[in-house]
C-alpha cells in the first residue's frame, strides 16, 4: 500500500470535487467581492435620524437665515438656506454653504493661548486655562486703568449686541477707542450725515426697482447682502413674473456684474462719480428731474446745478470717463424716465472705504429722480426696534475717558463724524500720538491680512504692549497676538444678526447654538460680562447681567412690544410688497412666545412700508435733502463752494508714473472670501485654474497690454508698487482694461490651515491707501505698478 502519484491525484480530485459541492468557494468568492468593496480606512459616516435646525449665518453681514441638518442630534452635515427667511428665501451663498468647514475646520483654536516667546511665533503660543487667561487680562486691565484710553478695540462686526457690548465695555472702562474695520459703510454713513443730517446707512428697495445703475458695486459678487442680491438679480432676470428690470453696470473691470448687466459702461478707473454727475447734468439741463422733490424737499439745487453745468457737461464727462456723450445722454434720459429707478454706490463688495463724494454724487442722482424714500428707490436702512440697555455707569476714569480724543480722529472736525476712521488709527498708533496704545483687542476681524494697505498696521503692532485676539481661528492677526481668547463659532453660540447692509426692511435674525460647542470656548459676551465683574466699580455696574443671554433678551423685549413685525414661520414672505404704510400683524403673543419662536424659526422681520416721508425724513439744518451740505459747514469743514457739493475728485494714485507705468486695481469675487475667515476648501476647490494654479494666483492683464509687455498666459511675473512686490502669474483676459492690472483679494494667507495657507498672494500688502484730507477716509482705488517677468 504505497501512496503513489495516481492515488494522490485521486485524493486531490475527490477533494476538489467535494469542495466545489460545498459552499466554501462560492461563499468565499461572494464574501471576497464584499470584502474588496470595504476599504476600512475610508470613513463611514454615522447614521441616525436627521433634524433641521434654523439659525442665522454670521460669516458675513449678509444676514441670511440658514438651516443646519443634524444627524443623531450631534453631527452637523449640511447647511442650506432657510426658505422662510425673507432675505435669502432658501438660497445661500457659497460661503454660507461652506460654514461647516469652519465648525469642523483644522484651524480652530481649542483653548486660550498665551504667547510665551517672541510675538508672531506660533509655536510658542501655549494653551492656558480660561481662569488664567481671563486673570491675565483682568490684571493688565486693572494695571492700566489710569491710562484707560490706551485700550483700543477693533471690531470687524459693525452691528449687533456683541459689538455693542465691546463698545460698552470700552466706554465704561474709559477708552474712546472702539474702532470699526474700514468699509464703504464709513463713506455711506458720512454721506448720509452730510446730505440727510443723520447717521445711518442706505437701504435699497431693489425688489421693486425697474432700473438699476450700479456705480462700481459688485452687485452680484458680494456687495450688500450677497444672497439677497442674487435673489433680487434672479427676479430682475425673470421672464415670468413681470419683474424684469434693466441693469447698467459702471465699472472698469469686466466683472461678472459687468457681463451680467444689460449694459456695461467700462469707465476710466475711479471715475464712476464723474459719470453719475454727468447723468445728473443731463437730467437737470433737460428738465427730467423730479420737480416736487427738488423744489420742496431739497436744498442747494441751484448751486448743484451751476456746478453741473460748469464741470459735468456730457463733453467733459465723456473726456473724464471715456463713455461717449451720446451714451451719457441716452442713459440719463432712460434713468430719469424709468420708474422706479435706483442708483447703487459702494465700490466692489463695499469692503473698501471709498470717497464720501462718490456716495454723495450717486445719492444726488437718486434725489434728482425722486427715488429717495420711495418704493423701488433708496431709503435709510431701518433700525430694528430693540429695547435699550440701561445707561453705562460712568466712574471718574470713564468720565475722563469720554473727553479723550479718539485715536482714529485726524483733526478737530473729524471728531464729530459718526464713523470710524481706521487709517487714522493706524497712523496714530504708529506715531504714538496723541497718546500711545497699550492694549489692542481684535474682535471678528483679521486686519493683519484683510486691511488694504496692511503694512503700516503690522508695523504699528510693535508699539503695542498687548495684543488680544478673540478669534476662533488661527488667523494672521491671532498669530501676532499675545493672548488669544477663542470664542465659539457662530454655529455654537447665541447672537443676534441685524438687518444686513443695503436692505430696506428691518430683520432680526437669531443665531442659536445648533450643537454643543466642540471646544471649551467662551462666548465673547459672557467673557466681557465676567471681565467687567472682575474689574468692579463702574465697569461692573455697567454689566449687570448674569450672562450674555439675559443681556440679549433684555433688548429683544423691544420687538415684543412692537405692534408690527412677524417671526418668519412660513416660506415665500415678501416684506417689500405691501407698499407704504403697510403693517405686519405679529404672530406672537408675549415675549416668551416671541423668544421661543425666534429660537425655532431664527428670524423676525417687518415690512419696508415705513420709509420716512420727504417732509420728515431729513435732519439737516434746512430740514431738506441737501445737495449743498450745510452740515459740513456746521461741523467746521473748511473749503470752497465745491467742497460742500457732490463733485468728482481725481485721486492721483501712489507711485511715479515713470517708474510704475501701469495701474494695479484689486478686485473681489464671491468665491474668495474677504471676511475675517479664510477661504474654505469647498470654495477654494472651485477656483478656476486661471485664478489659482498650485500656489500661484493670477493677475488679469489685457490681451494687448500683455502682448506689449511680451507676456504670455501663465507667465510668472513680479508686480511691484512703491509699497512692495508680489510674485504672481499672468492671465491674459478681455476682462482687463489696457494698462490696468487686476489682482484678486482674499488670498495669500499665512495663517489658517493647509487648505488655504500659502495659496496666492495678499494683494493688500502692496496697495497704498490714498486718504482724503478732509474726511480722513481712504478714498483709495488703485496703485501704480510695474510688472516684469520673474
Amino acid at each position: 500500500m504505497k501512496l503513489d502519484r495516481r492515488a494522490f491525484v485521486k485524493l486531490i480530485a475527490g477533494g476538489v470535487g467535494g469542495t466545489l459541492l460545498s459552499p466554501l468557494p462560492w461563499k468565499m468568492a461572494d464574501d471576497t467581492a464584499i470584502w474588496s468593496q470595504n476599504w476600512f480606512w475610508r470613513p463611514s459616516p454615522e447614521r441616525g435620524s436627521a433634524t433641521l435646525v434654523n439659525t442665522a449665518c454670521q460669516l458675513c453681514p449678509g444676514g441670511c437665515g440658514i438651516r443646519v441638518r443634524l444627524i443623531a442630534k450631534k453631527n452637523a452635515v449640511r447647511i442650506d438656506g432657510n426658505p422662510n427667511h425673507p432675505v435669502n428665501q432658501g438660497g445661500i451663498c457659497p460661503l454660507g454653504a461652506s460654514g461647516l468647514q469652519y465648525l469642523y475646520g483644522p484651524s480652530r483654536i481649542e483653548t486660550p493661548l498665551k504667547q510665551t516667546g517672541q510675538r508672531g511665533d506660533v509655536t510658542t503660543l501655549k494653551p492656558i486655562s480660561w481662569d488664567e487667561a481671563l486673570d491675565i487680562l483682568a490684571t493688565k486691565l486693572r494695571a492700566m486703568r489710569q491710562k484707560a484710553r490706551g485700550l483700543v478695540c477693533v471690531s470687524g462686526k459693525r452691528q449687533g449686541t456683541v459689538p455693542e457690548l465691546f463698545a460698552r465695555f470700552l466706554h465704561a472702562y474709559g477708552s474712546p477707542n472702539y474702532v470699526l474695520m474700514p468699509a464703504a459703510a464709513d463713506a455711506e454713513s458720512l454721506g448720509m450725515f452730510f446730505s440727510q443730517g443723520q447717521s445711518g446707512l442706505p437701504g435699497y428697495d431693489l425688489e421693486n426697482a425697474k432700473m438699476i445703475i450700479s456705480f462700481g458695486s459688485s452687485y452680484i459678487e458680494g456687495w450688500g447682502a450677497p444672497a439677497r442680491m442674487q435673489l433680487a438679480f434672479g427676479n430682475w432676470r425673470s421672464n415670468t413674473k413681470g419683474n424684469r428690470a434693466r441693469i447698467v453696470q459702471v465699472e472698469t473691470r469686466g466683472s461678472l456684474s459687468s457681463s451680467k448687466a444689460d449694459d456695461w459702461l467700462a469707465v476710466t478707473p475711479g471715475t464712476e462719480a464723474a459719470l453719475a454727475l454727468g447723468l445728473a447734468q443731463v437730467i437737470v439741463s433737460e428738465g427730467y428731474y423730479d420737480r416736487s422733490f427738488v423744489n420742496q424737499y431739497s436744498y442747494g439745487f441751484d448751486e448743484f446745478k451751476r456746478l453741473l453745468q460748469r464741470n459735468y457737461t456730457p463733453e467733459k464727462v465723456a473726456a473724464i470717463t471715456g463713455v461717449t456723450r451720446e451714451k451719457i445722454s441716452a442713459l440719463a434720459r432712460e434713468f430719469s424716465q424709468t420708474k422706479p429707478a435706483v442708483a447703487l454706490s459702494g465700490w466692489g463688495q463695499g469692503r473698501m472705504q471709498g470717497s464720501v463724494y462718490d456716495f454723495l454724487a450717486v445719492q444726488s442722482l437718486n434725489g434728482l429722480v425722486g427715488s429717495l424714500n420711495k418704493p423701488g428707490g433708496v431709503t435709510k436702512k431701518p433700525s430694528v426696534p430693540l429695547a435699550p440697555w440701561p445707561e453705562v455707569v460712568l466712574d471718574a476714569i470713564s468720565l475722563e475717558g469720554e473727553k479723550e480724543p479718539r485715536l482714529d480722529v485726524g483733526n478737530e472736525v473729524q471728531s464729530s463724524f459718526p464713523t470710524s476712521l481706521f487709517y487714522n488709527l493706524v497712523k496714530n498708533m504708529n506715531q504714538g500720538k496723541p497718546y500711545s496704545t497699550q492694549m489692542l483687542w481684535v474682535y471678528e476681524a483679521n486686519p493683519a491680512h484683510d486691511l488694504a494697505d496692511v503694512e503700516p498696521f503690522i508695523e504699528a503692532l510693535s508699539n503695542i504692549e498687548t495684543v488680544v485676539s478673540f478669534s476662533s481661528f488661527m488667523d494672521e492677526t491671532t498669530q501676532l497676538a499675545d493672548l488669544v481668547l477663542p470664542g465659539p463659532t457662530y454655529l455654537e453660540r447665541l447672537e443676534d444678526v441685524l438687518t444686513p447692509p443695503g436692505l430696506q426692511y428691518p430683520v432680526f435674525g437669531l443665531s442659536t447654538p445648533v450643537l454643543m460647542p466642540r471646544f471649551a470656548t467662551i462666548h465673547p459676551g459672557d467673557m466681557l460680562i465676567r471681565l467687567a465683574k472682575s474689574l468692579g466699580g463702574g465697569v461692573a455696574s455697567s454689566f449687570p447681567w448674569s450672562d450674555y443671554e439675559s443681556a440679549l433678551k433684555q433688548r429683544v423685549e423691544g420687538l415684543a412690544q412692537k405692534a408690527s413685525g412677524r417671526v418668519a414661520d412660513e416660506p415665500g414672505v415678501e416684506p417689500w410688497k405691501g407698499g407704504q404704510g403697510s403693517k405686519l400683524a405679529p404672530n406672537y403673543e408675549s415675549f416668551d412666545d416671541l423668544w421661543d419662536k425666534l429660537v425655532e424659526y431664527g428670524c423676525w422681520f417687518d415690512t419696508s412700508g415705513n420709509m420716512p416721508a420727504w417732509d420728515s425724513a431729513f435732519k439737516t439744518p434746512s430740514g431738506k435733502f441737501e445737495f449743498y451740505s450745510q452740515k459740513m459747514r456746521q461741523i467746521g469743514i473748511r473749503g470752497n463752494d465745491i467742497t460742500y457739493l457732490p463733485h468728482f475728485e481725481e485721486v492721483e494714485p501712489a507711485g511715479d508714473p515713470g517708474d510704475y507705468p501701469l495701474l494695479l486695481m484689486p478686485y473681489e469675487t464671491l468665491i474668495i472670501t474677504n471676511g475675517p475667515v479664510a477661504n474654505p476648501p469647498f470654495m477654494t476647490k472651485m477656483l478656476f485654474d486661471f485664478q489659482l494654479k498650485g500656489n500661484d494666483c493670477f493677475v488679469d492683464i489685457n490681451t494687448k497690454t500683455a502682448a506689449n509687455l511680451g507676456l504670455k498666459e501663465g507667465d510668472r511675473v513680479t508686480v511691484q508698487t512703491e509699497r512692495g512686490s508680489l510674485e504672481v502669474r499672468v492671465h491674459v483676459s478681455g476682462n482687463a482694461r489696457p494698462d490696468v492690472i487686476f489682482i484678486p483679494t482674499g488670498l495669500g494667507h499665512s495663517g489658517f490651515d493647509p487648505y488655504i495657507k500659502g495659496k496666492g498672494v495678499n494683494a493688500n500688502a502692496i496697495l497704498v491707501a490714498q486718504q482724503d484730507k478732509t474726511t480722513g477716509l481712504a478714498s483709495w482705488w488703485g496703485t501704480r505698478v510695474k510688472i516684469y517677468k520673474v
Binding site: 468593496q37 475610508r42 470613513p43 459616516p45 454615522e46 441638518r69 452637523a76 452635515v77 449640511r78 442650506d80 438656506g81 438660497g91 445661500i92 451663498c93 457659497p94 454660507g96 454653504a97 461652506s98 461647516l100 468647514q101 465648525l103 469642523y104 475646520g105 483644522p106 452680484i220 459678487e221 450677497p226 442674487q230 435673489l231 438679480f233 434672479g234 432676470r237 469686466g254 461678472l256 457681463s259 451680467k260 456695461w264 467700462a266 466642540r518 464671491l670 468665491i671 476648501p681 469647498f682 470654495m683 477654494t684 476647490k685 472651485m686 478656476f688 485654474d689 489659482l692 500656489n695 489685457n702 490681451t703 494687448k704 478681455g734 476682462n735 482687463a736 482694461r737 489696457p738 487648505y755
Partner: protein, 249 residues
Amino acid sequence: MSGNESGKIRYGMVIDLDKCTGCMTCAVACQQENNVPFREDETKKVRSITWLEVFYLDNGKPYPEHRKAYLPRPCLQCDADPHPPCTFVCPVNATQRDEETGLVAHIPVRCIGCRYCISACSYHARYFNWWDPKWPKAMEEMLTPDVSTRMRGVVEKCTFCVHRLQLAKDKAFVEGRQELEEGEYVPACVEACPAKAMYFGNLADSHSEVAKLAKSPEAFRLLEKLGTEPKVIYLSSQEWIHKLADNVV
C-alpha cells in the same frame, strides 16, 4: 408627479444662464451634499472631483466688448436610446440608467476603475478617485450618511442627489402617498441656488415647470448633435452663449 398622463418620469434640470450669477453655490452645496472629497491642492483641474463643475464661457471679444458667463454642469443624465454613452461601455454593470426615473446611477463599490466611462463621456461629467479620499479628522463628522464615501481607484459622478429621491419617497410612503408632488424631490444644487436659476422636475410631465421651460425659444442643450439626449437644459437669451452649445462645421 401629478398631471402626467403617461405616468412616465424623466427627471431633468433647467438652468437659466441669464439668471446664473456664477456664484458657485451650486457646486459647493453639491460637494457638501455628496461627501465629495477635497485635497490641499485642487488646482490641477483634470484631477479634481467636482460632480457639478462650473465652466467659464466668454464671447472671445476684446475689452470692453468682452462678456463672460458661467455654465454649471451637473451630470447631464443622458437619455440616449438605448444607452447613455457611459453606461453602455461599463464592463461590470457599475453604472446604469434607472429607466423608471431616467437617472444615471454610478455605484462606486462595484466599479473596477477601468475609466472607460470617463473616456466615453464628452461632458467630462465623470471623475476618477486618483487618491483615497481623506478628510481632516474633525471634518469626518460633517460627512452625510446618505451618500457613502468612495475609495481610491473608482469613478464617481453626479446622481441628481438620488438619495433625496429616496428620502422624499420615504416621507410620502409614511404619509400614505405613492406619488411625489412637484418640488418634493430636488437636488442640493437646485435647492441652494440663491438666484433661483435652477429648476428641477419631471420633463415627461408636460405640466411641470421644467417641461414648459424646456420648450422656451431660449432653451438649448449641450452638444445636441452627438445624440446623447441630455436631460439638463440651459436657457439663455444671449446669442453667443447659444453658439457655444454645439460645434459648428
